[in-house]
């Protein structure tokens, strides 16, 4: 008997469906990039919490500048690095709404350092999602503030020489030390288990806005196979071997309290 696709896709057979909060627009991201998955789990969280009509996103400048094409919520596209300031303006006039600042590493950790530090320090009651792939993807693979020592990019073609080019900045650890942050965590979305953990963290980061206790900051370490000049599979392996030791996964600050180092080490281990 010949089986058609429609014979298989039946209500009783469905084990997974795309959240309707993702639009039909085809993602502009490269295969293997963490943006698409992160977009999806953010939208799943917003769908599950039933807060679509109460959520406003702020898109950055970078690969995810077009985030508003894919996620079906109201958006503002901010100048490069200024998303937390735009989010501050939104939240201050609408404290009852859920405000999301979605940023990459160049946006959040280089040009927007001031806005990041001060929105965290003021304890703005917003959610910041920080995609860290250690490179400027949109502009074609230039060195980012988070590019690893020795890592090759189009503006560090012989590898990042920390003596002349400076060190990669661990923004997430940095903001965890500010009194205004309530939840600070580093996640990844390269494996099913990582996706589940990241989604849980993002859910918490949004739930926290109901508590009005300060800023929730979720870093997502991502691969950039185009920028790194690798296949998606190899890029994920490279990320595990090189990015994770420098940017260890796990919670850094939970409910306003720093996670003890031993516990944080434990969380890192699979």
């Amino acid at each position: 008997m010949k089986m058609e696709l429609s014979d298989i896709i039946k209500e009783e057979n469905i084990v997974y469906r795309r959240t309707p909060l993702m639009t039909d627009k085809i993602l502009s991201y490269c295969p293997g990039c963490g943006h698409g998955t992160t977009h999806r789990i953010i939208m799943e969280v917003i769908e599950e919490m039933g807060i679509q009509s109460q959520t406003v996103g702020v898109a950055p400048v970078g690969c995810s500048v077009l985030a508003y094409d894919f996620m079906d919520i109201d958006w503002i596209q901010a100048p490069h690095g200024r998303a937390p300031a735009v989010a501050t303006g939104l939240k201050r006039v609408m404290p009852e709404k859920f405000i999301l600042a979605y940023q990459g590493d160049g946006d959040l950790a280089a040009i927007g350092t001031g806005e990041t530090i001060h929105s965290c320090n003021r304890g703005e009651n917003i959610t910041v999602i920080f995609i860290n792939n250690g490179i400027y993807g949109m502009t074609g693979g230039q060195m980012a503030p988070t590019t690893l020592p020795g890592m090759v990019s189009s503006t560090s073609p012989y590898g990042r020489d920390v003596k002349t080019m400076g060190n990669p900045i661990k923004m997430t650890e940095l903001v965890a030390h500010l009194p205004g942050t309530y939840f600070v965590t580093r996640q990844a979305v390269h494996s099913p288990s990582a996706v589940r953990k990241a989604k849980k963290a993002i859910r918490k980061a949004f739930e926290n806005q109901k508590l009005n206790q300060g800023l929730s900051f979720v870093e997502v370490v991502s691969s950039c196979n185009s920028g790194w000049k690798m296949t998606p599979v190899k890029a994920n392996k490279w990320m595990e071997e090189n990015m994770f030791p420098f940017y260890p996964l796990g919670d850094i600050k939970v409910d306003g309290i720093m996670v003890k180092k031993e516990e944080s080490q434990k969380i890192q281990q699979p």
Partner: protein, 355 residues
């Protein structure tokens, strides 16, 4: 009963912001306008009207907080002075591109660079010709008294929301620091009467998501967006405002705005005392600019002097208006120096009567 108060120009801006029903003020201290933030913090407008007041970490942050609050359809205002206004420009360009209404006040000081803290009108080009990158314009209002500092706040909000465009009050350290009698207007509601269908406050089931962006990677669409902006700026021309002083029988004309208009008004009186038929045209909107009335007056007078606290910026718009019909010259002190009415009269006499 009239509510009269003796106030500094900067304080009048602050009180007017509360009374105009502003939802939020974001700012960063800079001389000569820090009284705005100081007044607001002392006045606790969040208790009076629910208005938010926040001191930002930089002008970059302040203008983007305004972008955020404005995107929610709220009345957001920020104030600064020249060097800080330069830092605003990135944000202003995005706000203009995304068509978000807001109100910005520039209490101008002498430049370039850190310049001086004394009054100047050298930011005219920046205010009226764009300032940031791209083809855009702000609605620009130029108060010439502390009363107008107060009155132009609700007017600025009204025009900003009417056209979904940032509005700028271009004043200077002279009017910002000067104390005058002000008749305060009554408290207005924080809501606006204008269309709010575009705001980013959360997508409800009855509409598509609202996206406030200045980006379109399709150049053909970006060209269309620019055409729409230009059509809007053309429509704004109906908002031209100006004031004529002794123009009816004038043989010569001074064109001056803001503090220079106040000084030039005295010059006109001094000239009249000497039998010189001098008149004054004061542009109140610098964008849209009153080209037509200046063009009409050019047919009547023998010569026109543009008086500004700069090396000559607005004079270019006066020349555009006059279009070669009559002689147009510039006079002004600059770098924080202020011309006196007598100096203006002497300059006028030297330029137009002694040659």
């Amino acid at each position: 009963m009239k509510e009269l108060r003796l106030m500094k120009g900067n304080e009048a801006i602050a009180e007017a912001a509360i009374r105009a029903g502003a939802d939020a003020y974001f700012g960063y201290p800079i001389t000569p306008q820090s009284e705005v933030l100081e007044y607001l913090m002392a006045e606790k407008p969040y208790e009076r009207t629910g208005m938010v007041v926040l001191q930002a970490e930089s002008e970059l942050a302040a203008i983007n907080m305004v972008f955020g609050a404005g995107s929610a359809g709220r009345k957001a205002i920020t104030t600064s002075s020249s060097p800080g206004i330069s830092l605003f420009q990135e944000g202003i360009s995005y706000i203009a591109g995304a068509e978000v209404p807001c109100l910005i006040v520039n209490v101008v000081r002498g430049g370039p660079g850190l310049g001086t803290i004394q009054p100047s009108q050298a930011d005219y080009f920046q205010a009226t010709k764009g300032g940031g990158h791209g083809d855009y314009h702000l609605i620009v209002l130029a108060p010439a008294s502390v009363q107008e500092m107060s009155d132009f706040v609700p007017l600025g909000f009204e025009l900003a929301f009417k056209y979904r465009n940032p509005a700028l009050i271009l004043t200077d350290g002279l009017i910002g620091q000067m104390m005058e009698k002000v008749e305060l207007f009554e408290q207005m509601p924080r809501a606006t009467e204008f269309d709010q269908s575009w705001v980013a406050t959360g997508k409800t089931p009855d509409r598509e998501r609202n996206i406030l962006t200045s980006l379109d990677l399709d150049s053909a669409n970006m060209e269309k967006h620019n055409q729409a902006l230009q059509a809007k700026y053309k429509k704004m021309r109906q908002e031209v405002r100006f004031e004529k002083f002794l123009c009816d029988d004038a043989e010569y004309l001074i064109v001056a705005y803001g503090s220079s208009a106040r000084i030039s008004q005295k010059t006109v009186q001094l000239a009249r005392d000497k039998g010189i038929k001098l008149g004054l045209l004061r542009p109140i909107t610098l964008y849209p600019y009153p080209y037509e009335v200046i063009s009409d007056l050019a047919d009547q007078v023998k010569g026109i002097l543009s008086v500004e606290l700069s090396t000559g910026q607005m004079v270019e718009d006066v020349r555009l208006a006059v279009n070669g019909k009559k002689r147009v010259e510039h006079y002004g002190r600059f770098g924080g120096m202020i011309h006196s009415p007598v100096e203006v009269l002497e300059a006028f006499t030297e330029i137009f009567l002694n040659h």
